[in-house]
Amino acid sequence: MSFFTMCMLAAGFGMAIGAFGTGIGQGLAVKSAVEGVSRNPGASGKILTTMMIGLAMIESLAIYVLVVCLIILFANPYKDIAVKLAETVVAK
């Protein structure tokens, strides 16, 4: 299959798998935070602050995946080589 098709597939599947793991991780964090607030509503301020920090940390893993996918799509280092190879094939 062509180089650029594989790039699209890689970016799409990569981001999907990254979002999958992040969703589960953040869901567990929010679950524990909500349980904590339900047991002790007076501590809800601190619990929510800690939950926000934890969510931002977990989210950054999905952001790393996003940055790699953006590099694959928009700043691909092998793009020039692929275009040159395609030109040699077409020239025949």
């Binding site: 920090i53 931002a56 950054s60 953006l70």
Partner: protein, 229 residues
């Protein structure tokens, strides 16, 4: 992907002789704009300082008091000298993030150079503080608790420290740039009312990312100040 329509777009031609790409010229132009805005706000807030504050002075006192409370809470009393650095980073990143929600404005933190600059400042500050506080004994921070594991622990700690810079940069850049990309795509697909939920999430994400950057900067500097394990 270059942002389509911006108010300060003419800076792209102004800065082109310096061989600066259009995306970076946008970030530079809007960083200057934010500098001017923050200077104006500071001048207005401190023009006539009163003992019982009103207006802009009141609002800035709330902001600065909140950041000071958070610093004393996280770093203890010996964290006070770092208040200017942490507060400047927090306010600059917050305003940079929020300015991206106004149509026609581009958030400078959506460019990896701005976020890398902020992260490198925090990284250098961490090590300068560590060396000033502990002198040559700062190397003990990198050696870990067990003596004979020290060579391996050194590499692991160095990689951990380098990964702090990368994670700070990429977290802020990825959030802001991802948000901008999503908004651009939505404006291309369905410009009527559909980008609004994304902009609401953008407000939330802006505040959270600025808060997390400030918190991480405080935690890293605190980790350098305290004694090694």
């Amino acid at each position: 992907m270059v942002h389509p329509i911006l108010f300060l777009q003419f800076f792209r031609e102004l800065l082109a002789p310096l061989h600066i790409a259009p995306a970076s010229a946008d970030a530079i132009a809007y960083t200057w704009l934010i500098i001017v805005i923050l200077l104006l706000v500071s001048v207005i807030a401190t023009k006539t300082i009163k003992a019982v504050p009103t207006g802009m002075q009141n609002f800035m006192e709330v902001v600065i008091g909140g950041i000071e409370n958070m610093i004393v809470e996280t770093m203890g009393e010996h964290g006070r000298p770092f208040f200017p650095l942490v507060a400047t980073l927090a306010i600059f990143i917050l305003i940079s993030n929020l300015i991206g929600l106004i149509p026609g404005f581009f958030p400078p933190t959506a460019n990896i150079n701005t976020t890398a600059a902020c992260a490198i400042v925090v990284f250098v500050m961490t090590h300068v503080v560590g060396i000033k506080e502990h002198g040559a004994g700062y190397i003990k921070h990198f050696l870990g608790p067990i003596v004979w594991l020290a060579p391996m622990m050194f590499f692991i700690e160095v990689i951990g420290h380098l990964s702090r810079v990368i994670s700070l940069t990429l977290r802020l850049f990825g959030n802001m740039n991802g948000h901008e990309l999503v908004l651009m795509i939505f404006f291309g697909l369905a410009p009527f009312l559909v980008p609004l939920p994304m902009m609401l999430m953008g407000v939330l994400v802006s505040f959270i990312q600025a808060f997390v950057f400030m918190l991480l900067a405080m935690i890293y500097i605190q980790g350098s100040l305290e004694h090694a394990h």
